[in-house]
């Protein structure tokens, strides 16, 4: 019996595969196995020897089983390790790529702008694109014959209606909708139209963002502060602004707002004409007549307004040098805005 035991353990030891090990198991512990055979001989033994013999055989069986289990675990682990070692892929092959869309840069720019103005308590007011001459011009101090009308080459629909040349009529419509409530703080983003041929910096269709604040105690200094916050939020915290006197019939005093060049950071480069500054926005204190036309009393409240080109802001932000690409919708252009 000892010999049988030793032989079995040796064979387990020598088995190199799970199949060989199974053979060993069958040879000793199978129905016709040697150990099983030993147990079957128990009946031929004298009764008093049987318990001792039985215990011995069982001990032998348990020992073999234990070794088998150990060896099986060993071989299984080894087989797995070998399989893992065998299995490799070329990880440099491309993965399954999900299809990603993109927002147009104008939408991206506008979202950033809207976020900044939300932070300053502004809401978004959307106004119509087809307008009356009255709203687009007259209510903004641009009576017929005003020389500034020429600067805004207009696309008329009829004698009295037109495609808005700026988002400024949104000032009047927005104020009228506010019905005298204070404070008035909103931006009007939207599409505007001019009689311009398409080229690298002009388009008959483009976009503006108008801002309006009306309240008690609003001064020119607030205009400066508000726009500075916007410029820093949009172009980066280092951005500087500068105001120059300008002229718009619907603001007085009026200003042109420059921002420090986004490319050279104010050092001077071809983009800014070596001045270090980029013209961005018209602005000013809302003219008393315009405040009145919006249903407010200019003796009680003051306000400021500004308006700038969304297209231009987006172009400056992403270094786009030709306005036309914004409207061409070439996939090779659009793709670049994935994830931005």
């Amino acid at each position: 019996m000892e010999k049988l035991g030793e032989r079995a353990l040796k064979e387990i030891e020598e088995a190199t595969s799970l199949a060989a090990l199974e053979e060993v198991r069958l040879k000793y512990l199978g129905k016709k196995g040697e150990v099983t055979g030993l147990l079957k001989t128990i009946g031929s033994l004298p009764k008093e020897e049987r318990p001792a013999f039985g215990a011995k055989v069982n001990a032998l069986r348990e020992a073999i089983e234990g070794h088998l289990k150990e060896k099986t675990a060993f071989l299984e682990r080894k087989a797995l390790e070998e399989r893992v070692k065998r299995e490799t892929v070329d990880v440099t092959l491309p993965g399954n790529v999900p299809q990603v869309g993109s927002l147009h840069p104008l939408t991206k720019a506008l979202r950033e702008i809207v976020q900044i103005f939300y932070g300053m308590g502004f809401t978004v007011y959307e106004s119509r694109e087809a307008e009356t001459d009255e709203m687009n011009f007259v209510k903004l101090n641009l009576a017929p014959g005003h020389p500034s009308r020429d600067a805004q080459e207009t696309l008329y629909l009829t004698e009295t209606t037109l495609l808005r040349t700026h988002t400024s009529p949104g000032q009047i419509r927005g104020m009228l909708d506010m019905k005298g409530k204070l404070p008035v703080r909103f931006i009007v983003p939207g599409r505007v139209y001019r009689r311009d041929q398409m080229d690298a910096s002009h388009s008959p269709v483009f976009h503006q963002v108008e801002g309006l604040v009306i309240d008690r105690h609003i001064t020119f200094e607030h205009l400066k502060g508000c726009f500075l916050e916007f410029a820093r939020g949009f172009f980066g915290p280092e951005t500087k602004i500068r105001l120059r006197p300008s002229y718009f019939p619907f603001t007085e005093p009026s200003a042109e707002i420059d921002v420090s060049c986004t490319i050279c950071k104010g050092k001077g480069c071809p983009v800014c004409g070596r001045t270090g500054w980029l013209e961005l926005s018209g602005a000013g204190m809302v003219h008393p007549n315009v405040i009145r036309n919006g249903g407010y009393d200019p003796d009680e409240v003051t306000g400021f307004a500004f308006g700038f080109g969304l297209d231009r802001a987006a172009m400056l932000k992403w270094g786009i040098d030709d306005l036309r690409v914004l409207f061409e919708n070439d996939l090779r252009f659009l793709r670049q805005f994935e994830g931005i």
Binding site: L93, P94, N96, V97, Q99, G101, S102, L103, H104, T107, Y118, G119, M120, G121, F122, T123, R128, E129, A130, T132, P147, A151, L155, L157, T158, E159, T161, L163, P183, R191, Q197, P204, V205, V213, T219, F220, E221, H222, K224, G225, C226, L228, R242, L243, R244, P245, S246, Y247, E252, A255, E256, M285, H287, P288, T302, L326, F327, E328, N329, D330
Partner: protein
């Protein structure tokens, strides 16, 4: 407006550099667009003495002289009258250069070697032959020899190019800019004597000096249309000689952007550039009668203008006329008949006020914008007509030896101006915010030559009356004065004050939030946002195949479009999206998924067109080409429909798809999307005919939605508890007529089954063994009640219910 630097400095002695001056002017609203150094292409032209002169041996009309430049003596041949012994002249020595790329070399003139050339103004400034009657330049006695022409006269100079806003018409003159520079620098204004005598810059405008002779001019002036011309001043200068203005005057005109012509015309232009009042000179002897009318043109009248064009005048245009007819288009251009020419002996000068709007209308109609009309259309100083004419007469007398008549004709129907505006410090505090004291305001006003009255106390604020010079037509009310204070004080001196943050701003309205979410959903599904124009051609709409009854077939037209390709407003986003496909196919992009949101326009009975916001979607070609690991993704109806379904689901909108949408979609491969009992959009394959007309290739699918409709229906979903029990799936396949929509089969299942969580169509099959004209639809039903796991018994009961219902409702036979 071009401002030559030296000319400006003549009126105000700035110690700033030209660059600094530009900076200061810009920051006070006089916007400098450009600073250029204008350099004549001129070298080797120097002062020289004619030492002796003799007649040319072969040509009696020419002279041969010895000319000394101090550095050498040259033998020069010339026929100019001024080429006489003892005269100081300008000699272009051999190898010198004149403008136009001309090089002067030694050359033989009728057998005599001429070492260079004595030159006239036209040769130096333009490199052109002397004009009729033009003599060589004679330098004043005492001029040192050998000095280059550029040093003798300011020929090379900086020019400040201004880009003026319309309110800065007072800077359409050098003296106007000088007033600004004087106010900013504190340097005094130094004007020519005649302007000082008339107090041109003063707060009340130009006024007759005490010694002005009270004499009426020889000519009569009639002003029948004072709304167009309320003031007309005339003055005669007699016995003028044909002459040219001095070279430095001619050069100044050139630097300012005008062409020198003759002494008389140049004098009028010089005065216009100097003070902003346009002038015109008539040959007095070619005028008929002794009366001038500033009147509206009559029907059928024509005029040949100075540029030689015969122009038809419209009734209502303002003309200047003599007894015979129009002699000038008022404020725009003079006529050829009375043009000043070489033979002119007597000149009638005109200095008038023409109303701005009619002047603009006239030059627009005639397409004839001139320096004069550019000033009249912005309103000229209504007091400056007499002083300007006096200055011009003075210059003409100086240049031509003419004799101005005493006094002048001044027909004046102008309303007296009231130019005093009360100014309260309240406006400074309220509008500007910065603590600018009244003394500073006063100083600013006075620096601009405004008159300031005594300071009074009115309520809490100090006030004063400010008298504004009439040339400042831009200043009408208190707020305008406030701007003057701000701009001279300096915008950069104002603080940047944040807005009080404690203001309830957003949140934006629900529609706006959903609108932006919708865009994010589309991006997450692979869509690329595009932005296309709202201006289309009628052909673009025609190409969509809409018939007349379709509201989209005719867009709102533009009255005066730039071109027919941009002449109507879009009625749909689809034409624009299809152009995006065209564009990308033209650059060989194999496929794409685009979407756009934007306004479309329809004619309405109201004054303004109807505006609606739409969402348009479009897929074409191969969205993703096959890779080593996956097959390709094609733009198909069901791919786009899947996007649409998902979009609506994410927005919480329940919708159904009814077969057959309108053009430009394929009638059999398209659906109307119905939600809340109305059509909110359509989705379908592009109609093959439209595809062919647009020259598109491959597959293309489209969809559009009314954004207003879907945003109104969008809603946040509520959380529902997840069942603690395992879901159970059962498949069922039903054979129905091919014409039965899958949707109706699904609907029956949904209505019949109990405890059903979802049902999906996982296969459709119409080949044998499925009988001809039939199709098999395979459905997967997922059951998952929240309170239990369904038993086999319950499931088979449900199955029987469904089978029965399908048989009754859609005639379906169960295959599985």
């Amino acid at each position: 407006m071009r401002v030559p630097w030296t000319w400006l400095k003549e009126y105000v002695d700035l110690d700033w550099t030209v660059e600094e001056t530009c900076e200061r002017l810009t920051h006070a609203g006089v916007k400098v667009e450009n600073l250029v150094y204008e350099k004549l292409d001129l070298s080797g032209v120097v002062s020289a003495l004619v030492e002796d002169v003799s007649t040319h041996p072969a040509r009696p009309d020419l002279k041969v002289g010895t000319v000394n430049t101090g550095e050498g003596r040259y033998t020069v041949v010339s026929g100019a009258p001024g080429f006489e012994k003892g005269n100081l002249v300008l000699l272009a020595v051999p190898s010198s250069r004149l403008p136009g790329g001309i090089t002067i070399e030694t050359r033989s003139v009728a057998g005599v070697e001429s070492q260079g050339m004595v030159v006239c103004s036209n040769e130096i400034l333009a490199g052109e032959e002397p004009r009729p009657g033009e003599d060589i330049i004679l330098l004043p006695p005492g001029t040192p020899l050998g000095i280059p022409a550029q040093e003798l006269f300011t020929l090379d100079d900086w020019v400040i190019e201004l880009d003026l806003t319309v309110n800065f018409s007072h800077c359409l003159s050098i003296m106007g800019v000088a007033i600004e520079a004087s106010a900013l620098s504190g340097k005094p204004l130094k004007l020519p004597e005649v302007y000082r005598n008339w107090d041109w810059a003063g707060p009340y405008g130009s006024r007759r000096p005490a010694d002005d002779p009270d004499v009426e001019g020889e000519w009569k002036v009639e002003l029948p249309d004072p709304d167009l011309c309320p003031r007309y001043v005339g003055k005669v200068v007699r016995e003028v000689r044909t002459a040219y203005a001095p070279i430095e005057v001619e050069r100044r005109l050139m630097l300012a952007g005008m062409r020198p012509i003759s002494a008389i015309v140049d004098a009028t232009n010089y005065v216009m550039l100097e003070c902003g009042q346009p002038l015109h000179a008539f040959d007095a002897d070619r005028l008929e009668g002794k009366t001038i009318w500033a009147r509206r043109a009559r029907q059928g009248e024509t005029i040949e203008t100075l540029d030689g064009e015969e122009r038809r005048l419209e009734e209502g245009m303002l003309v200047i006329a003599d007894a015979r007819g129009p002699v000038a288009v008022a404020g725009v251009m003079g006529g050829s008949r009375t043009e000043v020419s070489a033979g002119t002996r007597n000149v009638l000068l005109e200095s008038a006020f023409f109303a701005p709007i009619p002047t603009r209308q006239t030059y627009r109609k005639l397409r004839l914008r001139t320096e004069a009309s550019a000033r009249f259309e912005k309103t000229v100083d209504p007091t400056a007509q007499p002083v300007a004419i006096e200055r011009a007469a003075e210059l003409i007398a100086k240049y031509t030896g003419g004799v101005p008549e005493r006094g002048r004709t001044d027909a004046n129907l102008m309303e007296p101006l009231k130019r005093s505006i009360p100014f309260s410090m309240r406006v400074v505090k309220r509008t500007l915010g910065a603590p600018i004291p009244i003394e500073k305001c006063k100083e600013i006003f006075e620096s601009l030559h405004f008159a300031v009255g005594p300071v009074k106390k009115e309520g809490d604020f100090e006030t004063m009356d400010v008298t504004v010079p009439p040339r400042r037509v831009d200043i009408k009310e208190e707020i305008d004065l406030c701007e003057e204070v701000a701009r001279i004080y300096g915008y950069d001196k104002f603080e940047a004050k944040p807005l009080t943050p404690a203001v309830p701003g957003g949140p934006p309205n629900k529609e706006y939030v959903w609108f932006e979410k919708m865009k994010d959903f589309l991006v997450s599904m692979g869509g690329r946002e595009v932005v296309t124009t709202s201006l289309l051609s009628p052909d673009d709409l025609l190409a969509m195949g809409w018939d007349e009854s379709d509201g989209r077939s005719k867009g709102v037209p533009l009255m005066d479009p730039l071109s027919s390709s941009e002449s109507v407003l879009r009625t749909s986003l689809l034409p624009g999206l299809l152009k995006v496909v065209q564009r990308n196919q033209s650059v060989r992009m194999p496929g794409g998924f685009f979407w756009e949101t934007g306004r479309v326009f329809f004619p309405s009975r109201e004054e303004l067109p109807l505006e609606a916001v739409q969402l348009g979607l479009c897929m074409y070609g191969t969205l993703r080409e096959s890779t080593w690991v996956e097959g390709e993704a094609e733009a198909t109806f069901f791919r786009l429909k899947g996007v649409v379904e998902t979009l609506l689901r994410l927005m919480g909108i329940e919708a159904s798809f009814l077969p057959g949408a309108s053009m430009p979609m394929h009638p059999g491969i398209s659906a109307r999307v119905v939600a809340g009992h109305s059509t909110v959009g359509e989705v379908g394959e592009l109609h093959p005919l439209v595809k062919k007309n647009l020259g598109l290739i491959g597959n293309c699918v489209l969809a559009w939605f009314s954004v207003e409709a879907i945003l109104a229906m969008a809603k946040e979903k509520r959380f529902t508890p997840v069942s603690k029990f395992m879901p159970v799936e059962r498949d069922i396949a039903v054979v129905v007529d091919a014409s039965v929509p899958a949707d109706s089969v699904v609907k029956v299942v949904k209505e019949t089954a109990r405890d059903l969580r979802s049902v999906t169509v996982f296969d459709v099959y119409d080949k044998p063994p499925v009988p001809e004209g039939k199709k098999s639809i395979a459905l997967r039903l997922t059951y998952n009640p929240s309170d239990r796991t369904l038993t086999e018994e319950e499931l088979s009961e449900d199955r029987e219910r469904i089978v029965k219902a399908l048989r009754e409702a859609v005639g379906g036979e169960i295959r599985l």
